[in-house]
Symmetry: C2
Subunit: 380 residues, 2 copies
C-alpha cells in the first residue's frame, strides 16, 4: 500500500463532490490500485483543516462537507483554524509526492501553486484562472506550453525548459471530465500537426443555440434557461462568452502558442451597450435581439449550415462566438447541452477526432479531478 497525499484548495461544489468521492472510494483505490488517498489539508478562502500525519478521516471529511453545505467556514470548524495563506498550508502539510488540487475559481491560489511546484509537489487544476493569466504562470504550472529558448529547465542540466508530463494535470478546466486535454497532449506529443480545434464548451450556450435552431425567439430561450437555473444569476456571465474564451486559451496554450486572454477574440451574444443594465432591465430588453438571431439562423440554414457558439483555434487565431458550421459535421449534428470538440490534424483529416459528452456538473468534474490525481500517482 502506497500513500497518495492530497491537499485540497476549495470546498465549493466540485471540492465537496471530490471529498464525497474520496470517502466513497477509499477502499476501491486501496484494493485496486494499492493507493491510500490521504487528505492532508482542506482549505477554503480563509480557513483550513489540517491533518499532516495520517490525513483526515472519513468522519471529519463528512463533517466538513456538512459544515460547508450549511454555509459555515472552515475557520470556525472545531478541527479547523484561520489561514489567509495557502502557501503556508502547503509548507506545513506537504510532503514528498503530495498532489495539490485546486478546485477554487480564483487566481489567489497562484502563489501557493507555484510554491508547490518549487517543492516538486504535483498539481491538479480544476480552476481555469491560474492557466489563463500570465503565460509564465501557465508555463510553470503545466510545463506544457514551455518551448525551448528561455531560462533554465527542470532537467537540471542547464538546458532550456521542456514540456514535462509528470508534474500536473488540468483535464477538467476544459469540458469537465471529458478527455480533451489528454487528447490534445497526446496529439502534440506524437508530433501530429494540429491544424484546427473547434468546440462547444458551454452547456448553457448549447441550450441557447439549439433553441434558436428550433425557431424559438432568443429572448424566450434565455428567459427559460434563466428560470431553469441553467445560467448564472446574471445570464450575461454566460452569454458574454468569457468562460469559453478561457477554455479556448487553455487549448491554444496547450498547442504551445504564446498568447493571453486579451488575444482571444470574443463575440458575445449581446451588444456591449447592454452591459450597463441591471439583470431585470437586461431580461426585459432581450426581445430587441430576437430578430437579429432569427435572421442569422435563417441565413445559416440557407447555406446548409447551423449556428453554434464555438471556440476556434486555428492559424494562430483564437476566436470565440457564434460560428457557422456545416449541419452534417459532428458539431452541426450536436444538440442540447453536451460539449463537443473536434481536432483536425495531419492524421485526422478531413474527418476530425471528436470527443463529446457532458461538459459540466460537479460530480463529473470531481471524477475527472480524481482521474488526474491517480494518473499523477504514477508519474515521475
Amino acid at each position: 500500500m502506497r500513500s497518495l497525499p492530497i491537499i485540497l484548495f476549495g470546498v465549493g461544489g466540485v471540492g465537496r463532490a471530490l471529498l464525497r468521492q474520496i470517502v466513497e472510494q477509499r477502499s476501491f483505490h486501496a484494493l485496486q490500485y494499492g493507493l491510500r488517498l490521504e487528505l492532508l489539508a482542506v482549505c477554503d478562502s480563509d480557513g483550513a483543516v489540517i491533518e499532516p500525519s495520517d490525513g483526515l478521516d472519513d468522519v471529519l471529511i463528512d463533517e466538513i462537507i456538512a459544515a460547508k453545505e450549511a454555509g459555515r467556514r472552515l475557520a470556525q470548524h472545531p478541527a479547523g483554524g484561520v489561514q489567509n495563506d495557502l502557501y503556508g498550508i502547503v509548507d506545513i502539510a506537504g510532503r514528498a509526492g503530495t498532489v495539490v488540487v485546486d478546485c477554487t475559481a480564483t487566481d489567489a491560489t497562484v502563489p501557493a501553486l507555484l510554491f508547490a511546484r518549487d517543492q516538486h509537489y504535483k498539481i491538479v487544476l480544476a480552476n481555469k484562472k491560474p492557466l489563463t493569466i500570465d503565460q509564465e504562470v501557465y508555463d510553470r504550472l503545466t510545463s506544457a506550453g514551455v518551448t525551448n529558448g528561455s531560462g533554465m529547465g527542470d532537467n537540471g542540466e542547464g538546458l532550456a525548459p521542456v514540456r514535462q508530463l509528470s508534474h500536473s494535470r488540468w483535464e477538467t478546466t476544459v469540458g469537465a471530465g471529458l478527455p480533451v486535454i489528454v487528447t490534445l497532449n497526446r496529439l502534440v506529443s506524437s508530433g501530429d500537426e494540429v491544424k484546427r480545434i473547434t468546440g462547444t464548451f458551454s452547456g448553457t450556450l448549447g441550450f441557447v443555440m439549439t433553441g434558436l435552431q428550433e425557431g424559438k425567439p432568443f429572448s424566450a430561450i434565455v428567459r427559460e434557461a434563466h428560470r431553469l437555473g441553467y445560467t448564472e444569476p446574471d445570464p450575461r456571465d454566460d452569454l458574454g462568452g468569457v468562460d469559453v474564451a478561457r477554455k479556448a486559451l487553455i487549448l491554444a496554450r496547450g498547442l504551445g502558442w504564446q498568447l493571453d486572454l486579451a488575444n482571444v477574440e470574443v463575440q458575445g451574444l449581446y451588444p456591449a451597450d447592454m452591459d450597463g443594465l441591471t439583470v431585470a432591465e437586461f431580461m426585459d430588453a432581450l426581445p430587441r435581439l430576437d430578430d437579429h438571431f432569427q435572421a442569422q439562423v435563417a441565413e445559416a440554414a440557407s447555406t446548409g449550415k447551423v449556428l453554434r457558439f464555438a471556440a476556434q483555434v486555428e492559424d494562430g487565431v483564437c476566436r470565440v462566438g457564434p460560428t457557422l458550421v456545416y449541419g452534417e459535421s459532428p458539431l452541426g449534428r450536436l444538440s442540447g447541452t453536451d460539449n463537443l470538440v473536434e481536432f483536425t490534424t495531419r492524421w485526422y483529416n478531413p474527418n476530425p477526432l471528436v470527443v463529446q459528452g457532458r461538459g459540466a456538473g460537479t460530480d463529473a468534474t470531481a471524477a475527472g479531478v480524481l482521474s488526474d490525481i491517480i494518473e499523477l500517482a504514477y508519474t515521475a
Copy 2:
C-alpha cells in the same frame, strides 16, 4: 536531455510508419520534451538490427525502411543478423527505462514481452494478440485487469497485485490512435461506474453497414469494398467479426472483467456454412445474403433504429455483431468508416461520453504508439 531507449518488434506498415515518424520528429522531441529517442533494436520475425550503445542513426533507419519495403528481411541486412529469439534481443539491447514496442500481429512476441516486464522495462502494444489470449498474460502485461486476491504484486509488500498505470500502454489496440483506452482507464480510476460500452471498431464494417442503410445490396457493397482494398484479401476475415471481438475483449478486460475470447459472443455477417468456400466461390455466393440484410435494415427502420456492426460490453456480457441502435444516438448518426465508442457510466448518463474518428491507418496508429511511448517516459 534524457535518453528514451526503444526496442521495436515488427517492421510492417505500422512499424515502418513509426520508424518514419521517429526520424522525422527526433529534433521535435529533443527540443520540446528534452527526450532523445534511441532505437536500440529493430526486429522482424527472424532477424534484427541492434545498436545497443547509441541507437540506430537516421541513415540506418531509412535503409531498414527501404529494405523492408522492398520485401527484404532484416536477417539479410548488412547491419543485421539472424534472430529467432526476441527474448535474447531484449536481453542484449535493453537497459533501464527501455520501452519495448510491439507492432507485430502475432502472439509469438509474448515470451519476450513478459521477459521485458520482468526486467522492469515498459511496454507499448499495438498488437492485440498478447492481450486477447490468456487472462494471465493480459494481467501481467497491462497490470490493468489485475484485481486483488491472487498471488504477489509488484509492490513488493506481499500484498495482492494491483492495477498499475506505470508500466504499459496499449491505446492503439482499439480504435488505432483514438483516445479509447485512456478514456476507459480514466473512468475506471476515478471510480466512475461504467455501465455500458458500445462502439464500432471496423472501418470496413462501417462501410458495409452505411451501404446497407443507403439501400444497396449486401453483395454489391462487399464486392465494392473488396475491389477498393477496404477488406482483407479474404473479406470473411473482416465480415466474421473476430478482429472486433478482440477489441471488445480488451475493453471488457480493461473494466476488470475476467474472460476469454471464447466468451465473446460473435455474430458475423455471413453464415458458417460459407466458411468452406474459396474466396471466389464466396464472392459469387454473396447475393444469397442480400434479402436477409435488406429485411433486417427495413425492420430496424420501422422502429426508428439503424443497424450497426457494434461491440457491446454490458452486464457481464461481451457481444459483437449487427446491432440495432437508435437513429438519433451518436452511433446511429455515424456514417462511413469512422470508429465511434460510447461510454455510458454513472456520470455520463443518459448521454454517453463519445470518442469518434478514424480508427485505422498506419500513420494514425503509429502516432498513437508514439504518444504511448512519450507518456511512459514520464511514469515510474
